[in-house]
Amino acid sequence: MILRKTTILPTDDAALARSMFDDMVHNQPYYIFVALGTGPDAETIVQRADNLTGNPGDPRWVIWARDPKLIKNSVEKLQNSDRVLSKLGTARGFSLSLSDEVCNVIEGTEPVPSLTRILLAFAEAEGS
């Protein structure tokens, strides 16, 4: 698995995970796709999302929260967090705009998202 523009949050240090998440979301100027969970499906999603982040200068980034509950407090503070907060344990991922707004959620009930589906998540964040 080769990831170019993905930040993998730790699972054993909640404070560090939150701090890394907050820094990426609030201080770095990126449209972000947050991949949630572990396992082969999550890995596929992370790889696909990373493939869509483009050139180093392109303002897209991926955060992989393998343990979503660690970032719950941070997600709570985002705009439109109600779209994802209750589904953090089940959703496959969500996208964030430059204004740190939750834009598109890929539900746990959806099949493993294709590149097209993940691009749709990015597009909704980028179009907001």
Binding site: P56, D58, S114, A123, E126
Partner: protein, 597 residues
């Protein structure tokens, strides 16, 4: 990926990147100075010598067909239209997004301004792509598969969106082709035609690819026609201006007398001519009314009604004559009121003329119905009546149309007539697949025309055994928009600056030529039709020492309102005197035959 971007650039170059316009027909003007101008609806003025690029938006065309023919695959048509629109918008915005990302990519030079530009540029592209992505992920596995193929190669952010638009273009082409096949199977055909409206006549003009009409005669309206100075027409006008100047200088005529032939005067003249014609109906109508022929008895009430209508029309004419018969130069000071009253009266006249024509038609058909049973002498009277009625009706219609048209020009600018726009058998019937998507209309190939002419383009659809349906129509007004030279024979009133010239009055009338530089506007009928400001040179034949030998004057002149208002400053070389002058184009308003451009 490079090939993909090249494809998208080609699409842009082909013009599909233009913002979508409402309607099926989109027009672009290419003028003789190599300028290119989109012709928006409502701003329909073009240069008289331009080439018009006509584009048929098939996506809008399909949508319009779905409106007219309920059996068409409406849902698919909607999808095609939506996706095509999104592709256009996306491709339009993509280059800006690319530039904004490049400007943003260096962290050392990032600013809030660049961030705002980036957000705006990305937002436009993303919003264009989102409906396509939703359609792909929710409704079209084929489109999703096409996009997946293109996204597999680690695209940049710009390329990822380009991939979406590229895949969507392929998908929508296939979808549109299926829709077109179904429309063709229903027997729907399409026709597009163009007409030139000039001097009250509409003439079909050739649209390459859409008809088998012959190409029109090449006629480029000259922009730099200094030779007009030497034309016989202008020489004659100059002589007439010279005579008018002599009459005014010798006080045989007043300036006001130049305005004798005004628009109200023309109305009075037209009414008199109509009255004379109508009066000639009286005898045959009386004869028929008094004839004892039993077949005619049943027509008596119709004859009475017609006589009453004729009398009413004549009476109304008399009222108008009384109202306008004495309007002279004094009325020029209150033109708006004069024209609004005149307009109301001409409208009334139109309504009465229509009602009179209806009456004539009833009588004519009544007489036709009993013609075979009439005695020979009575039949001959009725035939004469029919001929005369036709003559009067045609005369009245022509006068009313001319008057109405001229009043409209004064108030609203010229109207484009569309009375006889019918598709001849020379207009090809296309199915939607074979319908060309663009054609060029070279206005220089539309034959005889001048400023104020109109061009009408129509696209319609038909189906066997059902009437043809108009789908879209564009109307253009042709004026001289690019800079051009106009030569005006003018009557000037010069005031010498040198004392002791021997003139008996302050101003001297003199004939002159004004060579004027003008330019039209694409957004103002008033400017092109009436205002026409200009700057130029005035060459006058003066006679400051009143010795009957002409002196040459040369001056700078400003002109407006079709050159009926000119003001300038010049120098009389023979008399060695500068002079101010005001002038007006010759002949003065009203002496141009009414209704003629």
């Amino acid at each position: 990926m490079l090939r993909l971007l090249l494809f998208l650039l080609l699409l842009l170059a082909a013009g599909t990147g233009r913002a979508i316009a409402d309607g099926i027909l989109t027009l672009e003007e290419r003028d003789l100075d190599n300028g290119s101008h989109a012709i928006d609806r409502g701003l329909d003025i073009v240069d008289i010598n331009s080439t018009i690029l006509l584009r048929v938006d098939k996506s809008a065309l399909r949508a319009e067909l779905a409106r007219h023919y309920p059996a068409t695959p409406a849902e698919e048509i909607k999808t095609v239209r939506l996706i095509q629109q999104q592709i256009r918008e996306g491709l339009d915005a993509l280059p800006d997004m690319g530039k904004a990302i490049v400007a943003w990519s260096d962290p050392a030079t990032r600013t809030e301004e660049k961030k705002a530009s980036l957000k705006a540029a990305v937002r436009r592209v993303a919003n264009a792509a989102t409906p396509i992505l939703i359609h792909a992920t929710q409704k079209s596995p084929e489109l999703e598969a096409e996009i997946e193929k293109r996204l597999a190669n680690l695209p940049s952010m710009t390329e990822s969106y380009a991939a979406v638009f590229d895949a969507a273009a392929v998908h929508v082409t296939n979808l549109a082709s299926d829709v077109d096949k179904r429309l063709t199977e229903q027997g729907i055909y399409l026709q597009m035609g163009a007409w030139l409206d000039w001097a009250g006549v509409t003439t079909p003009i050739h649209l390459p690819g859409f008809d088998t009409l012959p190409e029109g005669e090449f006629n480029e309206i000259k922009r730099w026609q200094l030779t007009a100075l030497l034309s016989q027409e202008n020489k004659d006008l100059f002589d007439a201006a010279q005579q008018a100047a002599r009459d005014i200088n010798s006080r045989q005529k007043t300036v006001a007398s130049l305005f004798k032939e005004s628009l109200p005067e023309a109305l009075v003249k037209a009414l008199k001519a109509d009255q004379q014609c109508l009066k000639q109906l009286d005898d045959p109508l009386r004869t028929l009314h008094g004839a004892g022929d039993s077949a005619l008895v049943q027509l008596r009430s119709e004859i009475d009604e017609t006589r009453r209508a004729v009398d009413d029309f004549i009476d109304f004419g008399r009222i108008l004559q009384a109202r306008y018969g004495n309007v002279r130069v004094a009325s020029i000071g209150d033109l708006p009121t004069l024209y609004s009253t005149l307009r109301a009266d001409v409208d009334d006249l139109k309504a009465r003329a229509k009602s009179l024509n209806d009456r004539f038609r009833n009588l004519e058909s009544g007489i036709k119905g009993i013609a075979s049973s009439l005695a020979t002498q009575v039949r001959s009277t009725s035939d004469q009546l029919n001929v005369k009625v036709k003559e009067c009706a045609e005369g009245i219609s022509a006068h009313v149309k001319d008057l109405g048209g001229f009043v409209n020009v004064l108030v609203n600018g010229r109207e484009i007539g569309a009375g006889s726009l019918e598709y001849s058998d020379k207009i090809l019937k296309h199915d939607i697949g074979s319908l060309p998507e663009r054609t060029d209309l070279d206005l220089r190939r539309t034959g005889s025309r001048d400023a104020g002419a109109g061009v009408i383009v129509r696209i319609s659809a038909g189906k066997p055994e059902s009437p043809i349906q108009l789908l879209d129509e564009r109307r253009l007004r042709l004026y001289k928009i690019l800079t051009y030279v106009d030569v005006a024979v003018s009557l000037i009133f010069a005031e010498p600056q040198k004392k002791g010239t021997g003139l008996s009055s302050r101003f001297q009338a003199a004939p002159s030529y004004s060579v004027l530089l003008k330019r039209g506007k694409r957004n103002s009928t008033f400017w092109n039709e009436l205002f026409q400001p200009a700057i130029g040179v005035n060459i006058a034949a003066l006679d400051f020492d009143s010795d009957e030998s002409l002196e040459a004057g040369l001056g700078l002149v400003f002109s407006a309102f079709r050159d009926y208002l000119q003001i300038g400053y010049g120098y009389n070389f023979n008399a060695d005197s500068a002079y101010w002058f005001v002038g007006l184009r010759f002949p003065v308003p009203g002496s141009t035959p009414i209704g003629k451009p």
